[in-house]
Symmetry: C2
Subunit: 402 residues, 2 copies
């Protein structure tokens, strides 16, 4: 029998052991920055925008010149010039004057507001009638409204999405320091396993975990290598592990389900390094292994693909986040349980769900069927001390990544 | 003045005009399939698993042989062999017999249940004592439990996530038909724009929309090309558009904010094809343009980056989904509004929000500041006929993609 640990204790242990391990920074082009994690704080080094800009087509003027004007009694201003798009204007506006400005154009010195074109009339004699009063600041973005030198915008650890690419472009940051992607090596092991493109003979099954865990690690910010299926003997496994350790930041072994693998994975870790965890009080996922070889965290995930996927999300993914110095990017939402779910005291349960409206339906299947997850939208956890959940109880669902 | 259309009318128009346009299929390796969209239904062509498998280490037996056994009165069975991992066994089990099986191993013909090792005792004389009754089917996955020939698993249009990679591997599908990525060409235009790595002179601003819209299209399943900043004259724009049209499935022009561009984009579309929409009753996003040139949908998005981003999500993204034949992958969730928000009747409002617990805080900023979106988690819409929303009202938030 395994000496099992609580899931949350194992999560804490992983955090403690590898809290200090962070990927080094590398410089990349902004064009390649989508989904990467900032390695340094980003602050403004200049005024954005660099000049007072109009947000409409109209006339830049002094608000005090048009105070109290109306349709019946327009204010008459002298048009003294035109601000051109993308050009600096040297005009300095005096009382009683206005300057034509396009949306986005620089307003001249001395102006403090812009009146919209549709609220004016061009009398054709070099004067403009303004029919609507205009408070100082109206229809303007002031120099530095988007940011001032020294003002912070992003903290390190920020994941870069499309809008951030826009903001970083606005700052002129075309070369960015981001965290290197953790290198995750995945090894499948088990005598019953064959590759997905190998012929299937009776008694063998295709390796599901190798391709699945590779995709999952990739989806969560890692660069990945799949070492393939290693035969289930201590020597083959040890050779593969020794090689992988020199080539990765996290090593993920996935046991087949054979009795031999169950032993050879923990034995290999114990021989080459330290075995910390051998069994977790969680369903599915009990035969989960965690240790360390030469500073590299090593996971032994269950052969059952549903268990392997959940243990990846609950143990490996948080470590990836922490190595990237990134906040977890999980989306959680509370739903009402559409039917009662039973649970055993003494272990935590991980329950995949389908979301329908504001309700979730638990997916209860036989252990080890990969199709269990094919339609799932996310999962929730049932605490170790609960015997089950009632219909209608609120549950906090962690949504799968889209 | 623009003749403005309702946002939902524009969305419907785009759907109608391009409902029949779908990307052709291409074959890719399973290894490259993450985030791609299936072009055909996927069904099982064989039994998965191909044989009855044990889910525990133990003994395969006939349930009827151990009915009523207990610690005090174990059932005694003759062990007639061992099922080996990954090997087919020729043994046919008779009454009173059992066979040792590992987790994941094939159980022999004649057996209908597996008893766990810990509920048995090996008497060392070729007989096994079973201390716990075992219903037929216990601790077994039957042939075909994960899938039977002809059984459906994925519909075309399914987006492939990490767990699906696992399922597809289980089916032996290493080469997959997926929809080709729509090719999106992005062109920025405006005399005030310079590239993010160009020197900034007074009156100019860096192009935000080009890099941002490229990243957004990429994030939503497109392959993208940025044609750069085109000078704001009809001739340059027309030349760039004529070239782009031959090279893309969707063309996205992003007006600078200059008065010239406002005219030259719709004029170019009208000259080379059909201009359908010139103005949408939405804030932000009013100066949005939509048309068609030689079967290619053409968008003219506002220069204001916040408006451009929302109009991308609300108009271009649904078209990408439809060309991929994919269901929208937006995640929506209902939150309570943390403070009142005003709105004008006669136009729809798009309000970016920050989520805190079960509440959302609207981000109210000056129009056109890209930093408005830097911390946003999603957005909600205020219908055209509403004058505003009260504090505490429930709002349906569309979450930004992580």
């Amino acid at each position: 029998m395994l000496y099992v640990k609580n899931l949350s204790d194992v999560q804490m242990l992983i955090r403690e052991k590898f809290a200090g391990v962070q990927m080094p920074a590398e410089l990349i082009m902004l064009d390649e920055a989508l989904d990467r994690v900032l390695a340094e704080d980003v602050a403004f080094t200049e005024y954005i925008p660099a000049f007072d800009r109009s947000t409409v087509d109209g006339y830049a003027l002094k608000g005090s010149d048009v105070f109290g004007c109306s349709d019946a009694m327009p204010a008459i201003l002298k048009m003294v010039g035109e601000a051109l798009m993308g050009k600096h204007t040297e005009i300095v506006l005096q009382a009683g004057q206005c300057v034509s400005v396009p949306t986005g154009g620089e307003i001249p010195q001395g102006a403090d507001a812009v009146v919209m074109l549709e609220d004016t009339e061009d009398f054709g004699d070099g004067t403009i009638g303004v029919r609507k009063p205009c408070a100082p600041g109206a229809n303007l973005i002031f120099r530095g409204d988007d940011g001032k030198p020294g003002g912070g915008i992003y903290k390190k650890g920020k994941r870069i999405h499309a809008v951030d690419i826009g903001t970083l472009a606005a700052l002129g940051l075309t070369i960015l320091p981001v965290r290197k992607k953790p290198r995750v090596v995945i090894i499948s092991s088990g005598d019953e396993l064959v590759n997905a493109d190998d012929p299937l003979t009776l008694g063998t099954v295709r390796d599901v975990n190798g391709p699945m865990l590779k995709a999952a690690a990739q989806e969560h910010g890692a660069s990945t290598r799949f070492y393939g299926i290693v035969k289930d003997d201590q020597l083959s496994l040890e050779r593969a592990v020794r090689q992988a350790i020199r080539d990765c930041d996290i090593l993920v072994l996935s046991g087949g389900t054979s009795a031999g693998v169950k032993d050879s994975i923990p034995e290999t870790i114990a021989k080459l390094g330290d075995l910390y965890v051998h069994g977790v009080a969680v369903k599915p996922g009990k035969p989960t292994i965690f240790g360390q070889i030469e500073k590299i965290p090593v996971f032994g995930l269950p052969g059952n693909p549903v268990a392997a996927y959940f243990m990846f999300l609950l143990l490996v993914k948080p470590l990836l986040d922490s190595m990237l110095g990134a906040e977890p990017d999980e989306k959680q939402s509370v739903f009402s349980l559409a039917c009662a779910v039973s649970s055993n005291q003494g272990r935590e349960d991980i329950v995949p769900v389908i979301i329908e409206g504001e309700q979730v339906y638990p997916i209860i299947g036989k252990s080890g069927l990969i199709t269990t997850l094919a339609g799932a939208d996310g999962y929730f956890r049932i605490a170790r001390d609960r015997e089950g959940l009632k219909k209608g109880e609120p549950v906090e669902v962690i949504l799968f990544k889209e």
